[in-house]
Symmetry: C2
Subunit: 302 residues, 2 copies
Amino acid sequence: MTIFAERDPTLIPSDPLMLLADIERRLDRLLPAENERDCVGLAMREGALAPGKRIRPVLLIMAAQDLGYRDDAGGLLDFACAIEMVHAASLILDDIPCMDDAELRRGRPTIHRQFGEPVAILAAVALLSRAFGVIAQADGISSQAKTQAVAELSHAVGIQGLVQGQFRDLTEGGQPRSADAIQLTNHYKTSALFSAAMQMAAVVAGAPLESREKLHRFALDLGQAFQLLDDLCDGLNDTGKDAHQDAGKSTLVNMLGSKVVEKRLRDHLQRADRQLASACDSGYATRHFVQAWFDKKLATVS
Amino acid sequence: MTIFAERDPTLIPSDPLMLLADIERRLDRLLPAENERDCVGLAMREGALAPGKRIRPVLLIMAAQDLGYRDDAGGLLDFACAIEMVHAASLILDDIPCMDDAELRRGRPTIHRQFGEPVAILAAVALLSRAFGVIAQADGISSQAKTQAVAELSHAVGIQGLVQGQFRDLTEGGQPRSADAIQLTNHYKTSALFSAAMQMAAVVAGAPLESREKLHRFALDLGQAFQLLDDLCDGLNDTGKDAHQDAGKSTLVNMLGSKVVEKRLRDHLQRADRQLASACDSGYATRHFVQAWFDKKLATVS
C-alpha cells in the first residue's frame, strides 16, 4: 500500500543504505578515536554510533541533492553528521534518571546505564558542541551557509526546540492535555530538528526563500507524522527502546485510538509530500525515501 | 603591590564596570524574556544573570579593542555574551547532584536547587546552544570570523575542554594526583575557555596568526593563575560558593601550601602579561584590567 498518489517510476532514488553507510563511516571519524581510558569519548561514540535509523541525516543529504547540490568536498556529509550528533545527544539526555529514566535505547542499555549519569551528561554536552564545530569546519561550504546552519541548529536545540519539547514532555506528559498541546510538544520534540535539517540542506544548496519555506512546512508535517508513528509503535517489542514507555502518558494514541491516529499520520504525510514535491524540482529521492520508509513501518502496526 | 613591571600611566583603560553593565544589559536581551510559566527560560536567566565576575566577556572585549577593533554594530558584545552563556552553562552542570552537588553559587542557591535537576540540565543545554546561535547572528562580523569563533568555542566546550575538565575533576579530584595532572585538569577546566575568548577576540579583530598564538599562550597562563586563585580562595566565606568545597580534593594548595601556590600564580601572571604585551600593541586595557583584578583578589588571601 502506498501513501502518495504521484511518483515517477523511471527515477532511481539514491540508495539510502549506501548513504547510511557513508554517514556512519564519517560519524566514526568525526568522533573521538576509540580509547578505553576515555569514558566520555566512548560514551559519545556509543551514543552516536549505536545502530539507528539515521533518518535526519539521510533526509538532509537527499533534500540537498534533490535541490541540485553535489557534495564534492564532503561538507554536506559533515552537516548530516552534525544533525545526527545533536539527535544522539538528545536521546542520551532524554534517557537519564531525572528525565525518562529509560533502560534500553537502540537495543542496548542506555548510556547512563553503561557509563554512569555524569559521563552520560558530559557526553551529550560534548556531542552537542561537537556538532556546531563540525558545521563550522565542513569543507566546501561557504562561511555564510555555515553561519546560517549554526543559527538553525541552535534554534532547533534550544528553548524553542528540543529543550522545550523535553521540558513539556516531562511536566505535562503525565497529565491530561489537549490534542493541540500534544501536537505542540511534538513540534518541539521532533519537527524542530527536522526543520533544521531541511534548512541546512537548503542553505547548502543555495535554495531560494520560497523553497526554504516549503521545506519548513514539509518538516513540520513530517515531524508530526514521525512522532505519531513513534506513539503507534510504543508497545511493540522491536523498537530497541523500553516497551510501553508511554503507558500512562497522555499521547494521541491513548486519547484518540490508533485508527484515528493512523489517519492523522497519513494526512500529515500527504501534506508533507505536497510541500516536498513543490520545493524540490531537481529530484525525487527524498519523496521516494519518505514514502518507502513510512510504508514499511506502517505495515508493522496496521 | 603590583605584579607587573612596566605600564604606561598616561593611558586610561576602558572602564570594566561600564563594560560589565553593557554585557549584562545585552545578556538580558539575548536570553528568553522573563515569563513565570517558562521555568527553563527563568533558569537560563538566573544562571546567566546572577551576579558574576564576567571576567571572560570583559577580557574578550578588551582584547579585541586592544587589537584595534571598534565594535560599531554590537557584534563583539554578542560574542562576549556567548562566552558568558557557555560559562554559565558549565557552572549549572558542575553544580548538579551527580557532579559536585553544590548548594550555593554566586551567593544564591544553585540552579537545580531553585528549579530542580531536569530544568537545570535543560537550561544548561539551552544556554550552550544559544551561545552558538548568538555568534552566528552577531551583527557587523564577517561570516568567516563567525565560523572560526564557532569552531573555537566548540573546541573549548567539548572533549578537549570544559567537558574533559569536569570529567577529570570528578574522577581524579578525590584521589592523590601529581601537580602535572592537576595543572592539566585546570587547563581543560579554565584555560580552554579563556583561550576561546581570546581567539574570538583575535578573529573579530582580524589579528595575524602570530598574535593569535601569543593570545593563546596568554590564556593558558591566565587560566592557570585563575584556577590557583580559585583554590586559594576556597575556604573564604565571600566567594558566593560552598566554602571548603575542595576539602579532601587533591588541589595544589592542599599539596604545596598556599605560599608556594601564590608564587606559582604570580609566575603565571608575569608570563601571561609578557604574551599579552607582545600580542596587543594598540592598547593596554586588558593588561591594566588583569593586573588590577588579581591585585585586588590577592590582597584578600595574602
